[in-house]
């Protein structure tokens, strides 16, 4: 009889601990902080970074990637720009003047020389503004 009492006491203590732990967990997850205890911080205008002015002409080159190494001397240049611009692709040995499609996409091929080549792609708008992207492409069949 005495042993049974002890066992029941232990079980009661264990259940008590479990209930207390559950209640504490429930309290923590559902706790709401009142507005009087919170502090609002507003950012002043001086700390907000100013956006740089957007250029009137944009030019992004999809291929080739900068610093690419290829094993053929022909490279396809693709990208996107404003639809009404004139694009000039210049390599060490050749120039090409192209215009993009109505959606601004353009593609052309250029012949490169062996070794490192700098490809300069420029876009000119009808009001004279311009932007430039340079890609370095290396033609090499060396394995290392």
């Amino acid at each position: 009889m005495k042993t049974e009492k002890i066992i029941i006491s232990f079980i009661a203590v264990a259940i008590g601990i479990l209930v207390a732990a559950g209640a504490f967990y429930f309290y923590q997850t559902t706790k709401i902080i009142s507005t009087s205890d919170t502090k609002s911080v507003s950012l002043s205008a001086s700390t907000t970074p100013t956006q740089p002015p957007k250029p009137a002409v944009f030019l992004s080159i999809d291929t080739p990637k900068d610093e690419d190494v290829i094993d053929t001397k022909t490279v396809t240049i693709t990208g996107k720009t404003n639809p009404d611009v004139v694009i000039v692709v210049t390599t060490s040995s050749n120039d090409q003047v192209i215009t993009p499609a109505a959606n601004g996409n353009f593609a052309t091929t250029a012949i490169l020389g062996s070794g490192e080549n700098a490809i300069e792609i420029r876009a000119f708008t009808q009001n004279g503004e311009e932007t430039k992207v340079t890609r370095t492409v290396t033609v090499s069949s060396e394995s290392f």
Binding site: F10, V69, V86, V88, S92, G115, E116, F144
Partner: protein, 249 residues
């Protein structure tokens, strides 16, 4: 006594047993030698794949800023400083070199083409081939003066530089219009104030003097609004005067 012991066991299992049950690792079954070898091979392949993903072949162009026995510092075409490591496998070449050419022969300020292995983690490149390049210069701007007797032109650029362009009989002059595209044109087609692009090689003594290889004139596209052509620039100055004024800026 037995009941007391049972009580302690129950308590132990209730409080401690649960905590210890989760992290207890299950003992791995013993592997056969073949399985061990397969696992080792798998690990080696995985580490090699990771290594290959970290390193890639790249080629860059830049101007030599510093050269030491084991490292070259360059400024690339995007104006970034790049560190190039050099080892005993790196090969050096120069079009003007007559004999052997090594790292100590690279002068500062020269344009270099570097092909090697780029490490994405360290952002350094291990050079396998280093070549001195002679690349043409591209000048894009507006014609500020034309001398039809000497066949020379002045080109003002966006960054307030002025280039003196020498047009030779070998210079390929083109004109671009929307209707006709790119057509061959003569020197007479170059007019003051027009947008122009010149590809040529700099004079050894004067970097603002160019010997033109190719010229494209764009009569339909206005010049960059940032380019200001001053009235004094329209005067047919001597090349030396034009160069000096450009250098002072």
């Amino acid at each position: 006594m037995k009941k007391t012991l049972l009580l302690f066991v129950i308590c132990y299992l209730l409080f401690v047993g649960h905590a210890q049950a989760a992290p207890t690792p299950t003992s791995a079954p013993e592997q056969s030698p073949a399985e061990t070898q397969i696992n080792k091979l798998k690990d080696r392949i995985a580490s090699r794949v990771a290594e290959l993903k970290l390193v890639e072949r790249r080629g860059i162009i830049g101007i030599a800023a510093e050269v030491s026995d084991t490292q070259i510092t360059i400024t690339d075409v995007q104006n970034n400083t790049r560190f190039i490591d050099v080892d005993e496998l790196t090969k050096f070449a120069s079009p003007s070199a007559k004999g052997s050419f090594g790292i100590s022969d690279i002068p500062k300020g020269n344009t270099l083409g570097i092909l090697g292995l780029y490490n994405k983690q360290s952002r350094r490149m291990l050079a396998r081939f280093v070549d001195i390049l002679i690349l043409p210069k591209i000048v894009n701007g507006a014609v500020s003066a034309v001398d039809d007797k000497k066949f020379t032109i002045h080109v003002a650029t966006e960054n307030k530089n002025e280039f003196f362009i020498d047009v030779e009989t070998t210079t390929k002059t083109m004109q671009y219009t929307k209707a006709d595209g790119l057509l061959r044109a003569g020197f007479s087609k170059i007019k003051e104030g027009e947008r122009i692009m010149v590809v040529g090689f700099s004079d050894v003594k004067d970097k603002n003097k160019l010997l033109a290889s190719r010229i494209i004139v764009f009569p339909e596209i206005p010049k960059n609004p940032k380019i200001v052509i001053l009235p004094s620039q329209n005067l047919k100055e001597t090349p030396t005067t034009a160069t000096q004024s450009a250098t002072k800026k």
